[in-house]
């Protein structure tokens, strides 16, 4: 392996790394991405096998502490009610994601102005709009134009069918006169860009064997490689190195054989997600940066936001075949999205329709919720549940709090001996109230939809899907880690492009915005390349 110096070095080949690599390739300099995981193969995904549900909760589990593959690093989550989830491979967490693809609303960028809490972003919806749209095309997004909750935009593909589960729950919202709209989904409803459409395998969360779900290993990466970007897999970055003048000058990384290598670069770009990125910055200590790289504000690793989730599910008389279809993407609702102080909390949440589990997980859910006994009565109860479940999740806006952190665990390390992250997180009173409200209103919607039984999990534990805020963006170097185009205040040639730079979380899934930001930052670098080192 040669470690020739490169122009741009990206760390992490997930949602943001893929989008950024594809765009920055136009700069005309050499671009290299180091990724700790391997390429994935659709032939290995669980839905190829009879025991797909067992595999989905083993080697394809979203929790790295359960999965424990060679490319994973452990996360100490003993002081968090929510477990952080991710996947480490080319494609990153999009290998397992559900592909809900909402944008932020314009108001999500001005939380302080609108509600007097948290902070405004230094950029707006209008800044990102020119990048949301091409990103939708690159990923392949299905949806219905005209949602009144959003500025007008046209998804490139028609919406996915709601299916029986989506139809039944949407009818509940309709009866109550509440906002609902078919979801924008990064799952293709028709053949698109050489990819075959969704065939309703019902297991998006363990990798899409059909390739209908947009993971960046099958969307951005093949095109980025065609443009000349080099992607080196099974290479785990240990630390970012700095030159005497305080610029980042490359990285030290462990290759697939566990040998420590040095890679020099003119520009370093972090795309390791809201936990991997602060971990790497904190692991990059030097005489000049004793508290970790780019951390003069002390905010690296602080303000961790997750989106606390509630799950509200109904059991219906009719068999909805509810595990068939994309796991999540049916419809969303912004009925309770904006602040209404009479509800007892600020900001709000969105609902997203969800389906039932597979045959095995239906039984497990029935056991966990006391609806399906073992022994006598098992089969009767199972028949009432399996296929009959439909519901929704509530995604609450998590406000930034400096006490919610990613730090380095003093003991735990990964297989290469690199200190592992520790997550410390307390659910705020505001979140608690949002969740309670979401459970009550969600129950009302399911009853209106005709559910004969409703069950709610008011705070999902295995639900740290969204990792945000740990290297926040801002114009004030004392109050933020990167500037308004992702450049570290302290290190001119260091950029961060993942969810770490979020100022606030909004009440919707983040990846459409993460990728729009990555494209916007790549574009800003291309425009400002002459002044990068000035």
């Amino acid at each position: 392996m040669t470690n020739e110096p490169v122009g741009v070095l990206i760390i992490g080949a997930g949602a943001s790394g893929g989008a950024f690599a594809w765009s920055i390739a136009d700069l005309g300099t050499s671009v290299l991405c180091l990724e700790q995981g391997p390429w994935m193969h659709q032939r290995d995904y669980p839905t190829n096998f009879m025991d797909w549900e067992t595999r989905a909760s083993g080697p394809f589990a979203p929790n790295p502490n359960v999965r424990r593959l060679a490319q994973d690093y452990p996360v100490n989550d003993s002081e968090s009610p929510i477990q952080p989830l991710m996947f480490n491979a080319v494609g990153g967490s999009t290998i397992l994601w559900a592909a809900h693809f909402p944008r932020f609303t314009p108001g999500d960028f001005r939380v302080r102005t609108e509600d007097g809490v948290a902070d405004d972003w230094p950029i707006s919806y209008e800044t990102l709009e020119p990048f949301y749209t091409p990103n939708d095309r690159m990923m392949g997004v299905s949806g219905l134009a005209g949602d009144p909750a959003y500025p007008y935009h046209e998804p490139p593909l028609p919406p996915l069918p709601l299916g029986a589960t989506g139809n039944v729950v949407a009818r509940g919202f309709e009866r109550l006169g509440w906002h609902w709209w078919p979801s924008d989904s990064a799952i293709i409803s028709q053949e698109y860009g050489g990819r075959a459409p969704c065939i309703n395998l019902g297991a998006c969360g363990s990798g899409c064997t059909q390739g209908a779900k947009a993971s960046t290993d099958i969307t951005y990466w093949p095109l980025a490689e065609r443009k000349g970007v080099q992607l080196r897999t099974n290479c785990r970055v240990k630390e970012i190195t700095v030159s005497e003048n305080g610029l980042a000058d490359g990285v030290l990384y462990y290759d697939a054989d566990g040998v420590l290598q040095e890679q020099k670069a003119e520009v370093v770009v972090l795309a390791c997600n809201g936990i991997g990125t602060p971990r790497l910055l904190l692991n990059s200590r030097s005489e000049r940066f004793p508290d970790g790289l780019a951390n003069s504000s002390g905010l690296v690793g602080k303000n961790l936001m997750f989106h606390p989730y509630a799950l509200i599910r109904g059991i219906f008389e009719e068999n909805l075949n509810s595990r068939r279809g994309p796991t999540g993407c049916t419809f969303w609702s912004h009925e309770f999205y904006k602040t209404d102080r009479s509800r007892g909390f600020v900001r709000g949440y969105s609902y997203e329709g969800s389906r039932g589990g597979g045959p095995g997980m239906s039984a497990v859910w029935g056991m966990a919720t006391g609806r399906i006994p073992w022994g006598e009565g098992h089969h009767e109860a199972y028949a009432r549940v399996n296929g009959h479940v439909a519901g929704m999740v509530a995604i609450t806006e998590d406000l930034p709090d400096e006490a919610n952190t990613v730090t380095l665990d003093p003991v735990l390390t990964d297989a290469n001996g690199i200190p592992a992250p520790k997550v410390t997180y307390t659910l705020s009173e505001n979140s608690r109230r949002q969740l309670a409200h979401a459970v009550d209103r969600g129950t009302e919607a399911l009853k209106a939809a005709g559910a004969v039984d409703v069950q709610a999990d008011p705070l999902m534990r295995t639900a740290g899907w969204h990792l945000m805020g740990t290297a926040r963006m801002g114009t004030d170097p004392a109050r933020s880690v990167v500037n308004e185009w992702g450049r570290a205040h302290d290190v001119k040639n260091l950029f961060i492009i993942d969810g770490s730079i979020f100022v606030t979380s909004a009440g919707v899934n983040p990846t459409s915005t993460i990728q729009a930001l990555a494209l916007y930052i790549a574009d800003s670098i291309k425009k400002n390349v002459g002044e990068l080192f000035a």
Binding site: L144, P161, L162, G166, Q210, M361, H378, H379
Partner: protein, 144 residues
Amino acid sequence: MSGSASALGDATFLSALLDTLIPSSGKRGMPGAGGLGIERDVAASIAADSAAGLPVGGWLEALYAGTPGFATLPAAERTGAVEAHAATNPAAMQALLRRVYLAYYQHPTVLVAIGEPPRPPFPEGFELEPSDPELLAALKPRQK
């Protein structure tokens, strides 16, 4: 007991335990979990769970040691023994049930009995009902 020293190695015990957890139902046309030959799978996954730190293996051994002749007991007595033992460690019982349910509901015979095709989801996939046209029509006037 067959003389084997461990619960996970005793197929007769495991088969009787599985039938206790999921008995057959003539009315619903469902087989019992003990007659499907899934004992080995269940034992392997319980061993893996135990290696990962879940308490289920040791707890199962205690049931095995504490209930001599479990497999030969009448069904009601087996149920009583499992109920009493479950109360000593509900988390271990849940871990056991999770493994049994996953193995059972992945078996082709069971899939057919619950009306599912006995195959993996890929490559055939599934049909999905279209969106209700009335619902979509209701959205039209709200479109921005």
